[in-house]
């Protein structure tokens, strides 16, 4: 099975979702993990929107992909589903949408600080945002995984 984690923009949040799918984060090491992820994704990479970026397998062997699709969620997801049918792809494709989390106020602030070049500020607010969404994201990913692997 292929899981496509899609968002407007690929950011630390996307990598946090990947780590949660891989079940690599322990609650007591959360702060260290977040610092690690923030520093890891600090190096600005211009992702090509639309590219499926392979990020490894989750704990149950499903392939994980990241996808930056700007604001065209519906169009891009439908196109992928259509291409799967055209080419008779046997691999099932599931989508995990990160947009409900991307609208968090801290991530919006982060974008503002990022544009202003205030690196230290944006790292702080990004971490606050990640800490805030972590419980919900973690629960939703667990539910999602349980649904596909009952």
């Amino acid at each position: 099975m292929r899981i496509i984690i899609h968002s407007r923009k690929i950011a630390t949040l996307s990598y946090l979702a990947v780590e949660l799918f891989k079940e690599q984060i322990r609650e007591n090491e959360l702060h260290e993990w977040l610092n690690y992820l923030i520093n890891k994704t600090d190096v600005k990479v211009d992702y090509l929107s639309g590219e499926l970026i392979y990020t490894g397998k989750d704990s149950t062997g499903n392939e994980l992909f990241l996808l930056e699709r700007k604001r065209y969620k519906r169009i891009v997801c439908k196109a992928i589903t259509g291409f799967k049918q055209i080419f008779h792809s046997k691999e099932e494709i599931l989508f995990f949408d990160l947009s409900p989390y991307e609208n968090n106020i801290y991530f919006r602030l982060k974008r503002v600080f990022s544009y202003l070049g205030l690196k230290n500020f944006y790292k702080i607010v990004e971490k606050k945002g990640l800490l805030l969404i972590y419980p919900e994201l973690s629960t939703n990913i667990s539910h999602f995984k349980r649904k596909i692997n009952p």
């Binding site: 499926l52 065209y72 519906r74 169009i75 439908k78 291409f83 055209i86």
Partner: protein
């Protein structure tokens, strides 16, 4: 080979080109308004279908012809397709994408907007068909070019 004619909504210019390619419309004679309006999927694909490739038929070489609306996301969808083909181990040249949006004139835009966005099928559909009929020769040229290229590609 798979040929995808794409435009904004996947219901006007892409349908016209796909109809010419599959022989539903003549490559020589300009069709009547009725012929255009009665084409399968012409001005009938609604906005919720944008993104989904729709099968339209086969040409004389048994290539599969699709129409697809890509909205404003054509660049992203093209990259996704490229990525998807890589993932599946399919040669990129197995798919031929043709953008027909460049032949969308102002009457077609107005007609499409009236019909698809505002729900005014009449007169929107007729205005769109008139607009497309006026630039029919451009579609013939485009389809001829595509057929020429795919016949060369199939010989190689």
């Amino acid at each position: 080979m798979i040929i995808i004619y794409h435009c904004f909504g996947g219901t006007h210019s892409s349908v016209m080109a796909a109809a010419i390619h599959t022989g539903k419309l003549s490559m020589v004679k300009r069709p009547s308004l009725e012929e255009i309006i009665e084409l399968p999927h012409f001005d009938k694909v609604n906005s919720s279908m944008i993104g989904t490739p729709i099968y339209y038929g086969e040409d004389e070489w048994r290539n599969k012809i699709y129409i697809q609306g890509m909205g404003n996301a054509s660049q992203i969808v093209k990259k996704t397709l490229k990525s998807f083909l890589e993932l599946e181990g399919i040669d990129e040249e197995a798919v031929y994408l043709v953008n027909t949006f460049k032949y969308v004139t102002i009457p077609v835009r107005i007609g499409g907007y009236l019909s698809r966005q505002l729900g005014m099928v009449f007169p929107g559909r007729i205005i769109a068909a008139i607009g497309l009929r006026r630039v029919y020769s451009n579609f013939i040229e485009e389809v001829k070019k595509v057929k020429q290229e795919i016949s060369i590609a199939s010989k190689v």
